[in-house]
């Protein structure tokens, strides 16, 4: 599948960080569609704890950028009520660990209004959640539990890894007539800047992105793990190991075609994610790949992931998160199998 998006080099653009691109995306969608609303804790006067909503309350007023009481279930629950009645709420939940008070509303209701009513009612909702480790944050701030949402039918789940994708995926999520969980890798909110077109464009949900072509092993990852993975690929290239790196981007639905094709090129695969191993999305990718391409398989598909332990307090978080060296090591094992 090809994406019909503007070439950032050919149009007016600015150099933005990922979080600035999120902010640009919100701004663009709110300008375009009056039904788009933002709500959450500290999203108004405080511009969001990560400044993702900077200046939006001044621009659009407190009817469209609503500071709410401290209650995640009601943030999602009232968003559902508004969505069912035709608005397109974009609630923010401050950190991944604070999604769970709203988990019931997400899996039991946001995901089901369409099925429940055979399409009579829909729930066009984009739930923004900064996720992931590596910023020396307190407990509950560093989890990546995309697998929880991917397992709930009726929810889509996406994770951008670049400023360009952040704005484009956010546009797709907000215009999507169904609920989308939009996970933002906060570790790389400000790590680098890239060109982002001023005009509106979309990066379609359901399309993975091949970041690096290679012939020895296919490596699948997303979000903040893209960078150490590419780093590992560079190092391995020096040793003549040629990695094909795929940014999965869309966790549900998966772009099975791109993923399986990438695997078939090499017959070897590695999946890298921050979440714990057991029940993580690496298992899903592995299972999907071997269903379609077992005859191509030359080695076990390797999972390089967080451990089956709660995310540690920050002093040890670097040991928990897959590092470039760990990824490199794992890829090597897969290639040498």
């Amino acid at each position: 599948m090809a994406t019909t998006t503007p070439d950032p080099a050919a149009v007016d653009s600015q150099t933005l960080t990922l979080v600035q691109a999120v902010r640009e995306g919100l701004y663009t969608e709110m300008k375009r569609d009056d039904d788009v609303l933002i709500l959450g804790e500290d999203v108004g006067d405080n511009d969001g704890v990560f400044r993702a909503t900077e200046g939006l309350v001044d621009e659009f007023g407190s009817d469209r950028v609503m500071d709410t009481p401290l209650a995640e279930s009601a943030i999602i629950g009232t968003s559902i009520g508004m969505a069912v009645r035709g608005f397109r709420p974009v609630p923010e939940l401050q950190f991944m660990g604070f999604v769970y008070p709203a988990f019931d509303q997400l899996v039991n209701h946001a995901a089901r209004f369409r099925t429940r009513s055979r399409g009579r009612f829909t729930c066009p909702l984009t739930v923004r959640v900064p996720y992931g480790g590596g910023i020396r944050a307190p407990e509950h701030h560093s989890e990546s539990t995309e697998a929880f949402f991917a397992h709930q039918p009726g929810l889509k789940v996406v994770v951008p890894s670049t400023p360009y994708d952040a704005k484009g995926l956010l546009a797709s999520a907000i215009e999507d007539p169904d609920p989308v969980v939009f996970l933002e890798p906060k570790l790389i909110y400000r790590s680098f800047k890239r060109e982002v077109p001023d005009e509106r464009y979309t990066v379609p949900i359901g399309e993975a992105n091949v970041l690096r072509e290679g012939s020895d092993v296919a490596v699948f990852t997303w979000g903040a793990m893209v960078r150490p993975t590419l780093e590992a690929a560079e190092t391995l290239a020096e040793d003549g190991i040629d990695c094909h790196v795929v940014d999965v981007r869309s966790i549900y639905p998966l772009d099975e075609e791109t993923i399986v094709d990438a695997f078939k090129r090499t017959g070897r695969g590695v999946v890298v994610h921050e979440a714990p191993q057991t029940g993580g999305m690496a298992a899903e990718l592995t299972s999907t790949i071997q269903e379609e391409a077992v005859l191509y398989q030359k080695a076990p598909i390797k999972r390089i992931t967080g451990y089956d332990t709660p995310f540690p307090l920050y002093a040890l978080e670097d040991y928990y998160l897959p590092s470039a060296a760990r990824i490199e090591h794992g890829i090597r094992e897969t290639v040498e199998f």
Binding site: S73, A74, T78, V84
Partner: protein, 368 residues
């Protein structure tokens, strides 16, 4: 400090027998509206009987009756404007049906078809919510939607039971309503039981209405088996809800004090946990008898009219049963409506299902 047994409500118009209490006046409604209310209440009771019999015959799943709740449901729903929304749970069909939803929807739903929630476009009713209390924040959000939409002054009425008041979502939903000052009426059917849990084990508060004080708006307790008092209380609450200019807060918590005389649902056996005799004093407050007395004393109701009502209702119900039972779902429907556009994986699952279904037929799936 704890829940006081027996009957105490601030708002009541009809006495236990259905006579207007000294100092009270019935709502300012046309005579035929009163009769319509009565008819609608009887319709609920007749429907319940039919639904239970369908369940017993295996033609329908588990069902919760409205017995003794008819006055609260019909009385409150009569106060709504057509464009007001109802956000329901599973014991308030009397309200949603009064608001325009055909009984065939209710039946289809309990026959296990999502089709039941395909609410007609001109009927402002949310789908039935089974998870206790979860619909309350939806209702607050729906109220926020009315407030945000230019020229929309529709209000949103949310029904729930006494048990629901213990859920976090009750608290969060009402607190948001207070903060965003939404056009909501939170209508609690306090029937004093949540399956086997009596209200005294549900909360140590002496009334449920007083919980409103935690959210900065008014709570009122009304005799939930007095349809006229319920109508009045709801009408006032809706007026407040719509009054954007007023200084007073717009949401209201209504506690309709009544009693679940029947079982929780068709699978429940109350003799496990309570004495039948406990229900006696409440049976005497039956909303339908009280309304009947009220109407008869005003010369608005005769035995003939009652018979005619009974028959008209039966017809309405039978026609709903017919429509509902005529509905034949396509097993393939499972895959529809998960998303606006189905992702490949679900398409593949559907294809595999179709293949198997074609090859083996229904027997490959149905258990005994």
């Amino acid at each position: 400090m704890s829940f006081e047994p027996g009957f105490h409500a601030e708002e009541q118009i009809l006495d236990e027998d259905g006579r207007v209490l000294d100092g009270e006046t019935p709502p300012d409604l046309d005579d035929d509206v009163f009769v319509d209310m009565y008819k609608q209440m009887r319709l609920c009771r007749q429907f319940d009987k039919r639904a239970v019999s369908l369940q017993r015959q295996g033609r329908m799943g588990t069902y919760s009756t409205m017995l003794a709740h008819e006055g609260a449901l019909v009385g409150s729903a009569f106060a709504l404007r057509d464009d007001d929304w109802i956000v329901p749970y599973y014991r308030d069909h009397g309200a949603t049906v009064t608001h325009g939803l055909g009984f065939e929807h209710i039946l289809q739903y309990y026959m296990g078809h999502e089709e039941g929630s395909v609410v007609p476009e001109d009927t402002s009713v949310f789908p039935i919510c089974i998870t206790i209390g979860d619909q309350i924040p939806h209702a607050t959000g729906a109220g926020m939607a009315s407030k945000l939409r230019d020229g929309d002054d529709s209000a949103v009425v949310c029904y729930f039971g006494d048990g629901a008041t213990s859920e976090g979502d009750f608290h969060e939903g009402l607190n948001f309503a207070g903060v965003f000052d939404t056009p909501n009426v939170f209508f609690c059917l306090n029937n004093q039981w949540a399956i086997s849990t009596p209200i005294e084990k549900q909360t140590a508060a002496s009334t449920l209405a007083q919980k409103a004080s935690g959210y900065g708006f008014d709570g009122v307790r009304v005799d939930g088996m007095d349809p006229l008092a319920v109508y009045e209380v709801t009408r006032k609450a809706l007026e407040t809800a719509r009054d954007a200019e007023s200084e007073a807060p717009r949401p209201t918590l209504v506690e309709a004090l009544l009693y679940r005389i029947g079982a929780h649902n068709t699978s429940d056996d109350p003799s496990n946990y309570r004495q039948e005799s406990e229900t006696e004093p409440w049976r005497e407050r039956d909303p339908i008898s009280r309304m009947e007395t009220f109407l008869r004393e005003r010369g608005l109701l005769s035995d003939e009219r009652i018979a005619a009502i009974e028959e008209e209702n039966t017809e309405e119900i039978e026609s709903a049963v017919e429509i509902a039972e005529a509905y034949e779902p396509d097993p393939d429907d499972i895959f529809e409506h998960v998303f606006d556009e189905l992702p490949d994986r679900i398409e593949e699952q559907r294809a595999a299902f179709r293949e198997l279904h074609e090859q083996y037929g229904d027997e490959a799936f149905l258990r005994d």
